[in-house]
Amino acid sequence: MSGTIATLVTVLQSDGIIPRGSRVEVFDAIYWVFLVLGALVGIVVIGYMLYNAYKYRDVGETDEDAAESKKVERPKLGELPRGGGGGRKLFLSFTLSAIIVISLIAWAYGILLYVEEGAAEEPPTEQAEALEVQVEGYQFGWRFTYPNGHTVDSAVGDSFKVPADRMVRLNVTSADVFHNFGIPGLRVKSDAIPGQYTQQWFIAEDPGTNYTARCYELCGAGHSDMTATVEVMSQEEWQNWYEGTGNETETGDDGNQSDGGDDDGHALEDVLEEPVDYGMEVHA
């Protein structure tokens, strides 16, 4: 946690108020600001509430109360409802809360603009071109199609291989029902809707790391198991692998990264469970 806050501070310092960088960095910055402020507001408001509840608890009628109850008007049975005054204080607190919320959201909106537009215009790394990948969800797995037409399929145990430090743009759709493609570790998520294409991007920073992509919209009996492994490779490794894929027939088999002695990749393949057969036809 302290590491994350340190990240947050660095991000804020280096990039001004609007954090930039990978989606993980952006998310962490905004999440922790919201969390800290939210917790603070929550503690103050709830604390004040508990304090008042205690302070004005009924302790039976004392002399002071008796004196005060002459001044304080109490609701009477059968009266037409009316307010108890105190409007100014109410408005003050309301304005304060509105200012906090609106400025927070305005700030978050700046980040949204960065995520949606800024990042598109200026790729944060020296790698000029982003990698564009088609992602197609189906019951129950994910198909990833690279620019050269190579397709990998999570249901037969293929992993989704991406280069580190390079922007990856996803063009997400579905072959059947509404899915949602998300890689929580990379803070990217997108609805996968039949007949629609949704665009998202991410940058993975650590080569050799594996992430799990999951489905975030209920899509049927196999929803819980609809995962895919996202494998981050160094750029050369990835390039080597990728160049070997272009001319092959798209059998979806995973034997084509045998070049580079990719230990992580193989370890991963061992870990992968047997592909679950939901009786779905896998068409490449």
């Binding site: 059968g78 109410l90 959201i105 629609q196 949704t198």
Partner: protein, 860 residues
């Protein structure tokens, strides 16, 4: 001071009669006169309806009294709480391990889906409406709702809709596509085999019909039957919250009704709305969330109103900034219809729309800040008594603050991107929704003494609060910590397993705490102390000024706030006041002057009609794939429905409108007409949703890229002929009304018969057209152009078919009216032509709808 005149009709014991004069004498305050709790009174039998006592089963089958119906709603909703709760415990057990254990994928999906649907639809709202039924008329000063039989109908439709939903479990599998029912997973091709899924959809439709009937009833009541001197803004906050809730319900549920009818049509008729690759999936999301976001407030507002009441009573303070509180609620109610796309930030909607909906979403969160502060400030200078109701309301406010703050996170779109589909959302809305439910449990303790006449056990109540509050937080707070878990999976990241186990423990603590509540209520009902009329000091609304439980006719006189606070007028006073005011609106009030009146309270028809609908829907659900047994069942149900409808209208059921009431802004309309208006307003939204769906799908397909989906024989002429037929029929119904004013019996009959003939002509013309399309053998459509041929045929048949159904219903009513007109029913008495006017309104509406459909489906 004229004497209270109620003693003589037997509905008020003499001890009760003091209340009114006393209250007038001391400046309007109604004192707690310590009236004894009375036996249930034998009701008048003058109109041939005997009204059995509360101890009999028959009473509960026939009752139309709002207090009885309120109790029925409350008890039934608690049953569904247990049902939905057990399902939750089932999948919480499954979630104690990070990988699948004992539930299969389909079983798990059924459990989470049914849990959501049961809790949101069959528990939360009906629980709130149990209180609304019981207390809104009391708080307003009305004897009952405007249409007591329709109120009973709402209840029975609700109960049997729940029964239908339960039945779906036994038909292979209930609906398993999540409570949001996203398309196209909501279609038979993706759902588990069997009729169950369709039955669940039909159950939802039945529920929505119940809600619509109820909305019309409440709106008419609340706008036309408030006690003299009580303006809309003077209503107690609970009633105010219900008024806004019901307005939202009227329109939001209409959109859901359209969505569900389309879904049922996709299931049963084989139309292809949601299977349409271009836009079908998004269409559902738009329709569902257009309903779904207002639904959040529909569920929460009553809880908020109850919190406000409980806070005022137990702090002994009037609420701070009352008019701002009301303004904030009104703003939220309006704005709730323009925030729905924040549920769809990750769909392909563009940045501009995201920005707009982010702004409206944040905008709608601010009024809640104001309401929360108002409640907190109300405690200042209070004399706070920590009774069970207050503890629950206080706890609910605390939970709502947590739910609200975590909701702001979701308003920031970039955060929403990550929270979408995770336990953050689950935890957030449970803090809000179940937090609201906590307030309602508080309200149950608050009003229990009024409803039963007995005081609950305070110790057990507090123990229930303590256990449930701890259980609640143990259940939902760990879900924030483990928020990266995807929703609705049983296979999740192993690092969160401890948090989910804690959550499961919390679920059991929370669930078991309700055993205390049930035991407490059971025990107190039989052995509790008598509560007296006003057990709570500083309670101010009218229900506390009458005995616990209140008598059948509620008040010892005619309630009035004219003097600034509640008093009960005698008949003479009422007549004096009414005469001074120029008499009641439109002379619809009866000659029956008794406040205690001779209104009817018993009818079998609401129950029987609901059973007929139940049978019809069971059958309809299975007509596509269930076999002929289902078709026969549907036919049986349809006939039964016609029969019960006839029984309903034949039954003489007397309900008087109050002579003296605040009716702004509907002074000039009588209850039934207002009811018809309100119903038509919701029907406008239903048709609006149908037309909107057609436009949405056509735009997705390409507006001009549409005509190749239509057969060449789809020409303008049949539509044009039908337009003339309907326009002519609108004219003939006007002629009938003119004739009725002139007391010309023959003229009325002629007008109605002409309308009937024109309407039948419309249907015949349509039948010929449809039959022709069905049997086309063209190059493009060798198999005919039927419901499921393509999106164009689907939208054409379903939209114009819905209209045709409206025409058919109208004609059935005409068939009923013509013989009555022949016997002079609409010409023999002063106000006899009213039914003609109501029917005319409906018929004009149906014609106007056609004027929109004709260009959309025949010309463009």
């Amino acid at each position: 001071m004229p004497d209270d005149n109620n003693g003589d009709d037997g509905s008020v014991p003499s001890g009760e009669r003091d209340a009114s004069p006393e209250s007038r004498a001391d400046g309007g305050e109604v004192t707690d006169g310590g009236h004894a709790v009375r036996e249930e009174l034998p009701a008048g039998d003058e109109h041939g309806h005997d009204f059995p006592s509360m101890g009999t089963v028959k009473r509960w089958l026939v009752t139309t009294n709002h207090k009885d119906v309120g109790i029925l709603y409350t008890v039934t909703s608690l049953f569904f709480l247990v049902f939905g709760g057990l399902l939750a415990l089932l999948f919480r057990l499954e979630l104690t391990t990070a990988s699948g254990s004992f539930l299969t994928g389909t079983a798990y999906n059924q459990a989470v889906t049914a849990h959501g649907l049961l809790m949101v639809f069959f528990f939360l709202s009906p629980f709130a409406f149990g209180f609304a039924n019981y207390f809104v008329p009391l708080q307003l000063g009305a004897k009952d709702l405007a249409f007591p039989r329709l109120n009973a109908l709402s209840y029975w439709l609700y109960l049997l809709a729940g029964g239908l939903f339960g039945l779906s479990f036994l038909q292979g599998s209930t609906f398993a596509g999540g409570w949001t029912m996203y398309a196209p997973l909501n279609l038979p091709m993706y759902l588990p085999e069997g009729v169950g899924s369709t039955t669940a959809v039909m159950a939802m439709i039945m529920f929505v019909i119940s809600v619509t009937v109820s909305s019309v009833n409440f709106l008419t009541t609340m706008h036309r039957m408030r006690a003299e001197g009580m303006r809309i803004r003077d209503m107690p906050l609970f009633s105010m919250s219900i008024l806004l809730t019901v307005w939202m319900m009227l329109f939001a549920f209409a959109a859901l009704l359209a969505a569900l009818i389309i879904l049922a049509s996709d299931h049963i008729l084989g139309t292809t709305y949601f299977a349409a690759t271009e836009g079908g999936s998004l269409l559902w999301a738009h329709l569902f969330w257009f309903f779904g976001h207002p639904e959040v407030y529909i569920v929460f507002f009553p809880a908020l109103g109850m919190m406000a009441e409980v806070f005022q009573t137990f702090t002994g303070r009037r609420i701070v900034g009352r008019k701002w509180f009301i303004a904030a609620m009104t703003l939220v109610a309006l704005q709730s219809f323009v925030v729905w796309m924040h549920h769809m930030f990750l769909t392909s909607i563009n940045l501009e729309i995201k920005t707009l909906f982010m702004a409206t979403t944040i905008g709608i969160s601010l009024p809640f800040d104001l309401m929360v502060f108002a409640l907190i400030y109300t405690m200042i200078k209070g004399r706070i008594r920590f009774t069970t109701p207050f503890l629950f309301a206080f706890g609910a406010l605390l939970l709502f603050i947590v739910g609200g703050i975590t909701g702001v996170f979701l308003g920031a779109v970039v955060l929403d991107y990550e929270f979408r589909g995770t336990y953050w959302v689950v935890a957030h809305f449970h803090y809000v929704m179940v937090g609201g439910a906590m307030a309602m449990f508080g309200a149950l303790y608050y009003w229990y003494p009024k409803m039963t006449g007995k005081m609950y056990d305070e110790f057990l109540g507090k123990a229930h609060f303590a256990l449930s509050f701890v259980g609640f937080n143990l259940l939902y707070f760990p879900q924030f910590v483990a928020w990266e878990t995807p929703r609705r999976v049983y296979n999740y990241q192993p690092e969160f397993v401890t948090w989910h186990q804690l959550s499961t423990v919390g679920a059991f603590v929370f669930g078991l705490s309700f055993l205390l509540m049930f035991y407490n209520f059971y025990k107190s009902y039989h052995h509790g102390e008598d509560a007296g009329d006003a057990p709570w000091k500083y309670a101010s609304s009218a229900e506390w000024a009458i005995p616990s439980p209140p008598s059948l006719e509620n008040f010892p006189g005619v309630p009035s706030y004219k003097g600034g606070s509640l008093s009960f007028l005698s008949e003479e006073e009422v007549h004096g006041a009414a005469a001074a005011d120029g008499g009641p609106a439109h002379g619809h009030a009866t000659g029956d002057a008794h406040a205690g009146g001779h209104d009817d309270h018993a009818s079998y028809w609401p129950l029987l009609s609901s059973v007929a609908v139940f049978v019809l829907f069971v059958g309809l659900a299975g007509t596509n794939g269930g076999g002929t047994v289902y078709t026969a069942t549907a036919a049986l149900g349809g006939l039964a429905l016609l029969g019960t409808a006839a029984g309903w209208v034949v039954e003489s059921f007397h309900v008087s409108e109050p002579e003296l009431a605040s009716r702004w802004p509907f002074d000039g309309v009588e209850n039934t007409k207002l009811g018809v208006w309100i119903f038509l307003a919701s029907d406008v939204v239903v048709f609006g949703a149908f037309v909107g769906s057609y436009i949405f799908i056509r735009v997705a397909e390409g507006w001009q890229n549409w005509h190749h989906l239509l057969p060449a024989d789809h020409v303008v002429l049949p539509g044009l002929i039908n337009t003339y037929l309907l326009l002519a029929s609108s004219f003939s119904i006007v002629l009938a009304m003119v004739a009725a004013e002139k007391k010309s019996r023959a003229g009325v009959v002629a007008g109605l018969v002409t309308t009937l003939v024109l309407g039948i002509g419309f249907l015949i013309n349509k039948g010929i057209e449809w039959s022709h399309f069905f049997h086309i053998h063209s190059e493009h459509f060798p198999e005919g152009w039927t419901f499921g041929t393509n999106v164009a045929s689907s939208t054409f048949y379903l939209t114009t078919g819905m209209h045709g159904l409206h025409v058919t219903l109208g004609l059935l009513v005409l068939l009923w009216m013509i013989p009555r007109a022949w016997r002079g029913a609409y010409t023999s008495t002063e106000d006899g032509d009213k039914p003609l006017e109501y029917f005319g309104l409906y018929w004009h509406f149906v014609d106007i709808v056609w004027l929109f459909l004709f260009p959309l489906f025949y010309i463009l």
